[in-house]
């Protein structure tokens, strides 16, 4: 029932900013050329117990990268792990890209061992990024944990093309030490509100709950939400956005094979059928996703 009502309201709200309607040439620019390069490691810095930032020299990828796209990196020379690992591009500038990552297994473990001067076989930029639409009056950027990674470029793009819209950045993590990227958003002149699960700083609780409180007072219907983080969080952000008729895009993850749309290995369930995270995503319109049974 709730869901139905939300859908109806969403449709009504649909009449205003000209969001999904974009000129074809801009779309093709977003899905651009990909490169396979040996990217030189410029630095690989430990940011917290779990997180690292690796800076890579990869001029072609850096130049072509759009907010929300990813690089597919071969983390080691051997066959175990066998496959590449996909990482959101955190920053791209002056011929280099930054990747924020969390060590979760063999691949990221190997990546964390890389030193300045090492080379990494990197493929990118891949996938479909965020649609940054200047027509929205209010923008929410909501990141959970390492999910902050693709959102910095969203903020950068909004501050570049925007027309002074109101941008709210909400970042969540388990505790104070695990908050990533706050300073970077602030350097763009944006105000950042923090949520920590243990309450060690900022709002005590989940960033999705913080988002819920923020939108209570939100009266405008011209709202866009850009989000990345754990699936449980994204699902809540997506539901809240749908109920309020907000335009909401989320960046998702899945075990991935080729990264360029050929192997059909990385699909998730969408309303129109299976969707390849590497090609139709990793950024999806939240309402296209079947959250009940994603297949992660």
């Amino acid at each position: 029932m709730e869901a139905e009502r939300g859908l109806v309201r969403k449709r009504n709200a649909n009449t205003h900013p000209k969001r999904c309607v974009r000129p074809a040439q801009q779309v093709s620019e977003r899905i651009g050329y990909m490169y396979q390069v040996k990217a030189k490691v410029l630095s690989n810095e430990k940011l917290s117990e779990a997180h690292y930032r690796i800076k890579l020299e990869a001029s072609q990828i850096a130049k072509a990268a759009r907010a929300g796209q990813f690089v597919h990196i071969r983390c080691g020379p051997g066959y175990d792990p066998l496959l590449r690992r996909p990482f959101s591009i955190h920053k791209s500038r002056q011929g280099r890209i930054d990747v924020l990552y969390q060590v979760v297994g063999k691949g990221t473990g190997l990546l964390s061992q890389k030193r300045r001067g090492d080379q990494l076989d990197s493929l990118g930029p891949l996938g479909k990024g965020f649609e940054i639409e200047p027509a929205f009056k209010k923008i929410f950027i909501v990141g959970g944990g390492i999910g902050v990674a693709p959102l910095y470029m969203v903020a950068q793009e909004i501050t570049r093309v925007g027309q002074g819209q109101d941008v709210t950045v909400l970042l969540g993590a388990k505790n104070k030490e695990l908050i990533l990227g706050k300073d970077e958003f602030e350097r763009l002149g944006l105000e950042v509100t923090i949520a920590t699960e243990d309450g060690s700083t900022g709002y005590r609780g989940l960033v999705s709950n913080l988002f819920q409180e923020f939108i209570l007072s939100q009266t405008s219907l011209s709202v866009a939400v850009y989000s990345c983080g754990p699936v449980s969080m994204l699902r809540k952000i997506a539901e809240l956005s749908r109920h309020r008729g907000f335009f909401c895009q989320v960046s998702l993850e899945q075990k991935m094979g080729c990264g360029l749309g050929a192997c059909l290995g990385c699909v998730i369930r969408g309303r129109s059928g299976y969707l390849r995270v590497c090609k139709e995503g990793p950024v999806f319109d939240a309402k296209e996703i079947l959250w009940d049974n994603l297949g992660l």
Partner: protein
């Protein structure tokens, strides 16, 4: 021809400029890799399987990594023959390489229908008959595990089309040479071996299978010794050109298959790791011939010393 060694080979009526193909399901319909790989440099492209009706494929997760291997259960997701003919084939025709279309079905009639329709098209050099996919509930694999059914299917296909038929065999049998012989008697012009090995992986924390469909097909370097052995056995017993595949990731791997008796090779899972690996393998083969003072690649086939 200058000082370049001759890498060309023939699989029955199919002439390849070099023996390196890309395996079905790992190279899409040719367009996905176009920014990175010039198709004209490949011996040929074996397409993702085409079925009569569109198939949405198996529930995710569809991939799980295992040591030096990859389990997959894609479930033959493909847009069906109509869309293939309308949207994929015109693009494939423009590529200056051999185009081998992989066909799959649940019933014999589906295979025959596919073969007839593809046989009427231009720009297709051969059909690879998939009787070996471990990831579909019905049909398919059963033709690959019973010699009588394999024979009758290939014989039917032989009558349905003039296109060269390459039959792709499954390793999930006791004696692959029996099925190989049956396919030959039915009219196969070449054999592809091997398809993936049925496997399984479990997440011990969630106690759930790592693959949505519970089981999947294992590929990658982990299966190479099994594949080389099967090529060797088949080469001993069945007089047909063989396409060796299963875990090939470098020129040396490819050469193992060739010495065991393969006329050509197909690179599969390694494409997902390195999109340009097939080009590196072609170059590696060229170097091997040059170093050994060998003038023709063809002369290497099946020269295993035992």
């Amino acid at each position: 021809m200058d000082n370049l060694a001759d890498l060309s080979v023939s699989l029955g009526r199919i002439h390849l400029k070099n023996p390196v193909l890309v395996a079905s399901g790992t190279f899409g319909y040719g367009e996905e890799y176009q920014d990175l790989v010039e198709a004209a440099q490949l011996g040929g492209i074996i397409t993702k399987a085409v079925t009569l009706e569109p198939r949405e494929g198996n529930p995710p997760p569809r991939l799980a990594e295992t040591p030096a291997g990859l389990l997959n259960s894609i479930g033959l997701e493909n847009p069906g023959i109509e869309v293939f003919l309308k949207e994929k084939l015109p693009k494939l025709r423009k590529l200056k390489t051999r185009i081998i279309v992989n066909i799959a079905g649940e019933k014999k009639t589906e295979y025959l229908d596919l073969a007839e329709r593809l046989g009427r098209e231009t720009g297709i050099d051969a059909l690879e008959v998939n009787i070996s996919c471990p990831n579909v509930q019905k049909g398919g694999l059963v033709f690959g595990t019973r010699a009588d059914l394999a024979f009758s299917l290939v014989k039917g296909l032989r009558q349905a089309t003039d296109l060269p038929l390459i039959v792709k065999l499954t390793p999930n049998v006791t004696d692959v040479t029996e099925i190989a012989q049956a396919a030959k008697e039915g009219g196969a012009e070449a054999l592809s071996l091997i398809n993936t090995i049925l496997g399984m992986a479990i997440d011990v924390n969630t106690r759930r299978p790592k693959i949505g469909a519970i089981t999947g097909g294992l590929s990658g370097p982990a299966i190479r010794p099994v594949a080389v052995r099967m090529v060797h056995q088949t080469f001993q017993k069945v007089d047909l050109p063989l396409i060796g595949m299963g875990g090939i990731a470098c020129a040396e791997d490819a050469l193992e298959f060739v010495l065991a008796g393969a006329t050509a090779v197909a690179v599969g899972t390694a494409n997902l790791v390195d999109p340009t690996v097939s080009l590196k393998i072609i170059e590696g083969l060229r170097q091997y011939l040059k170093k050994g003072g060998i003038h023709s690649f063809q002369s290497l086939i099946g020269t295993l010393r035992v």
